[in-house]
């Protein structure tokens, strides 16, 4: 009985401790833009109804906190550690966040072929065939994908950060998501079967190399043989 009481107490202490740390972090890093009541300000959107998946994604990829409000949140070295992120998530969920949205659990999948079809149909047009990212227009960028953190990839699919569409379980179900993430992870080491990659920027880099090595190298040879081997 006493043990149970102690356990409950300690849980409450831990919980309130987490909540207090979350409150502190929120007050220092988030409140200016998202408001004291999480209702948002002119600088940033409301966090009411936002779930753990989105919070974890924005914080663990370093997109938040944003240095310049109003700019596109882009990947950066994360400011917070795992515990601080948990504290912030707990704080937001306790003050109006969506407790139903879970951080997606990614399972290992070896269905690369299925993952690739989903990637080509839904991701490649903006993020590029290698997941290196590209511009999408009007100053927006589809950033490079991070194959080192499968959870982040899955979170992005589910929440649709920025102008990216959101893909719910109806569009991409759990098994498909696992396969898609597995394919993104497989892009970490592109096979580069043809030799050194010339920047993966597409044919523009290839054209540059053709001019430098083909015509440039050719002219160098002409200077060597053409001007050396003159009629004596």
């Amino acid at each position: 009985m006493i043990a149970l009481l102690a356990a409950t107490l300690s849980l409450a202490v831990v919980s309130s401790d987490l909540d207090r740390r979350g409150a502190d972090l929120y007050a220092v890093n988030c409140v200016t833009c998202h408001g004291a009541d999480l209702g948002g300000t002119a600088n940033g959107p409301s966090l009411q109804g936002v779930g753990a998946d989105a919070l974890d994604f924005y914080l663990s990829t370093g997109r938040m906190p944003l240095e310049v409000p109003g700019t596109e949140p882009l990947p950066a070295p994360p400011l917070f550690g795992r515990e601080q992120i948990s504290a912030l998530i707990a704080y937001v969920l306790a003050h109006g966040g969506d407790a139903n949205a879970q951080i997606p659990q990614v399972r290992a999948s070896d269905d690369l072929a299925r993952g690739r079809v989903l990637f080509e149909e839904n991701c490649q047009a903006c993020h590029g065939a290698r997941g290196d990212g590209a511009v999408t227009g009007f100053g927006w960028i589809a950033p490079p994908l991070n194959p080192d953190d499968p959870t982040q990839v899955a979170e992005a699919v589910r929440i649709g950060p920025g102008i990216m569409p959101r893909f719910g379980p109806h569009e991409i179900d759990g098994g498909d998501l696992d396969a898609l993430v597995a394919y993104v992870v497989s892009l970490r080491k592109p096979p580069d079967a043809g030799g050194f990659s010339v920047g993966s920027a597409g044919p523009v880099g290839e054209g540059l190399f053709a001019w430098i090595f083909g015509v440039g190298g050719g002219i160098l040879l002409m200077l060597l043989v053409g001007e050396t081997l003159k009629r004596t």
């Binding site: 690369l112 080509e120 490649q124 903006c126 030799g195 054209g207 083909g214 190298g217 040879l221 081997l229």
Partner: protein
């Protein structure tokens, strides 16, 4: 050895007089006279490598299920063409090496043609009596671009599929006949199941045969008219100063040929090009980004990206927006290229024959026009990769496109004006130079005579 061979041929063909003079034929020593050979070497290499590729490529849009070493495509339904490219790349001896060298060669070929044409242009080598060879050269540039585009479109990957979609849209935008023309060429609404089978013979037979014929004509005319040469101490309108074909020039030329093949094989072996297994097979609803065509078509892409959005509706008929940048502009640019020798002769009232070249600074008008034209091409080419530049410069594609539109109008004109004033400056410097050095020889009688 050569003597014996010539003798053997002479006994059978009576060819000794021709061969004797041919082997003694003089080739000018200036390095820039080998630029055309670089292009010719590329043609030989592209024929040889393309023949090897044709052994393994299946020009068919029939659907097959792929099983092979590319794990992420295992079990995927794709065209037979794309599947055969995968097999060619990953399961054929030297397949990937030859395919990559072939593609590198196409890029270098077009670049060598443009460089050679620039040399011919800026030195006035196209002037009477050589206008015909200029016309043939411009035609060959068109053919190289066309052969490059048809070859790039054969694998049926996501990137080239998008390129064909653009070509289809441009064809559709042509007034009155556009729809019929597009249906005729593509065999129906794009994408069609016949396209690869049509592109293939055009790519490997029709255009190369035309090119071979025109190269033959180009060289025959060159042989008949003899080389031009830069003015110099001994160079005159009625002679050619240089090395004899045998042995000096043959060694030079052979060395360049082998070195060209070496460069192309090195590029093919070391640098990845057009990794179609990364782009994936083409489906109309998929694409890849960033995306551009090969550089020789990049200026067309650039024109489409920054071109005006003028879709004109006349009654129930529409002239599509791609018509202006995609059809009118390239037609205009190539018309000017074709017409230049005659335009220049008209403007300068120069109807004389010219065996001696001009140094570029001697003709500011021509140089400024050439710089302007290259500036237009270069600006359009740059606009064709606005996606990559926007990423590098951290600006939006839309602002970059507006910059490119202004740049296209302004920059080539500025470059032309700068080129004009540089030429004038050089002209005035040369006017103050000492007259050309004359060599005087003392003869047996003690008098002097010019060498």
């Amino acid at each position: 050895m050569i003597r014996a061979l010539v003798g053997w041929l002479d006994d059978r063909l009576g060819a000794a007089p021709f061969l004797r003079s041919a082997l003694r034929k003089a080739f000018p020593d200036h390095w820039s006279f080998m630029l055309g050979e670089l292009a010719a070497n590329c043609f030989f290499f592209i024929l040889a490598s393309g023949t090897y590729l044709a052994f393994f490529f299946h020009p068919s849009d029939a659907h097959v299920v792929y099983h092979g070493p590319v794990r992420s495509l295992d079990g995927r339904t794709m065209t037979a063409a794309y599947a055969s490219i995968l097999r060619l790349s990953f399961e054929t001896q030297a397949g990937l090496l030859v395919r990559q060298a072939h593609h590198w060669c196409a890029l270098v070929f077009a670049a060598a043609v443009v460089t050679h044409m620039s040399r011919v242009f800026f030195t006035g080598a196209f002037r009477k009596p050589r206008e015909l060879n200029w016309l043939i050269g411009v035609t060959m540039l068109l053919l190289v671009i066309a052969d490059g585009f048809t070859g790039y479109s054969l694998p049926g990957d996501a990137l080239s599929g998008a390129g064909l979609r653009i070509a289809n849209a441009v064809a559709l935008s042509i007034p009155l006949v556009g729809s019929w023309l597009a249906f005729l060429a593509f065999g129906g609404p794009y994408p069609t199941a016949e396209l690869t089978a049509r592109l293939f013979p055009i790519h490997i037979l029709f255009i190369p045969a035309l090119l071979a014929t025109l190269i033959g004509a180009h060289l025959s005319i060159l042989w008949h008219q003899k080389h031009t040469q830069f003015p110099g101490a001994r160079q005159r309108e009625n002679n050619v100063v240089g090395s004899p074909l045998w042995p000096t020039y043959a060694v030079k030329s052979g060395a360049l040929t082998l070195a060209t093949f070496g460069i192309l094989l090195l590029l093919g072996g070391l640098l990845e090009i057009n990794p179609v297994w990364e782009y994936g097979p083409y489906d109309p609803w998929t694409t890849a980004s960033p995306a551009q065509p090969d550089w020789y078509a990049g200026w067309l892409e650039g024109a489409l990206r920054i071109g005006p959005r003028w879709a004109i509706h006349i009654g129930s008929h529409t002239i599509g927006a791609p018509f202006w940048p995609g059809v009118v502009l390239p037609l205009a640019l190539f018309s000017v290229l074709y017409a230049w020798p005659f335009v220049e002769a008209f403007l300068t009232r120069d109807r004389a024959e010219h065996e001696l070249l001009q140094f570029p600074w001697q003709n500011p008008l021509r140089v400024s026009f050439g710089v302007w034209a290259l500036g237009i091409g270069g600006s359009l080419l740059a606009a064709g990769s606005d996606d990559v530049q926007a990423r590098l410069l951290h600006v939006s594609v839309q602002s970059l496109d507006w910059f490119d539109r202004v740049e296209l109008i302004v920059a080539p004109v500025i470059a032309a004006v700068v080129a004009w004033s540089v030429c004038r400056e050089l002209q005035s410097r040369h006017a103050h130079e000492k007259p050309e050095r004359v060599l005087l020889y003392r003869n047996r009688e003690g008098g002097y005579e010019e060498g």
